[in-house]
Symmetry: C2
Subunit: 135 residues, 2 copies
């Protein structure tokens, strides 16, 4: 059975109010302000619990630590190839992708994860300025 814990509540609240897709480490350091002796292990354990319950989303990037997202409605993410920032995509997940995948597949497809890559708005702007300057 799952018992209440102040630490878990605080982690959930943190993710519900920060849209930066923080790492476990970032959550840990920020929540430390409120709970000075919370431990990193507790943060990891609770992020796992919350993710298992579907109350937060885990975003695995391939390199670097996992990110967490309090918005649990299905949505895609964008990862900037330059600065590494993770952003929510303003775009509906496309169910036809699963349908199409099922065409030639004899197993069961339950869903998909899609990450977009490229230059985030900020890095793109910087980049354009540099190009205009002829650098």
């Amino acid at each position: 059975m799952l018992n209440y814990s102040r630490q878990r509540e605080s982690i959930k609240k943190y993710l519900d109010s920060h849209f930066t897709h923080p790492t476990a480490e970032t959550v840990y350091l920020d929540i430390k302000e409120e709970f000075p002796n919370i431990s990193l292990g507790t943060v990891y354990r609770n992020l796992n619990l919350l993710a298992d319950m579907g109350e937060v989303l885990r975003i695995s990037l391939g390199n670097g630590p996992d990110r967490y997202d309090g918005r649990t409605n299905p949505h895609y993410h964008f990862i900037c190839s330059t600065c590494g920032e993770v952003m929510d995509m303003d775009m509906e997940p496309i169910p036809e992708i699963d349908a199409q995948a099922r065409q030639n597949f004899s197993g069961v497809i339950t869903g998909h994860v899609t990450h977009f890559f490229g230059l985030c708005p900020k890095c793109n702007k910087k980049n354009n300025i540099l190009i205009r300057k002829g650098e």
Copy 2:
């Protein structure tokens, strides 16, 4: 400048003839037959080099070690939630996904990675047999 190395050639050949999406560890252990004192670091370094040159594909699964694929034509992957097997999808990547992503995005989108999840054909079969048995 990049020099020739027997080890790198062997790694490339291995990936070109094995469609199992092996981990660096697996590549290492198998190639050890031919080069008994190849080191794991060498395998990692060359997999990185090959991936950077676009001669192999790195597949990051989120949990567990990365997988590598000698087939470099763009394609999607399926990961079995039960046994963890990674399979190539027989399905064309959908360019409209990028187009749609660009609609409400002010940065630059260069591409996307999509992984499908579910039950692989083998695990699905096993599962169905268990269900029929009423277990």
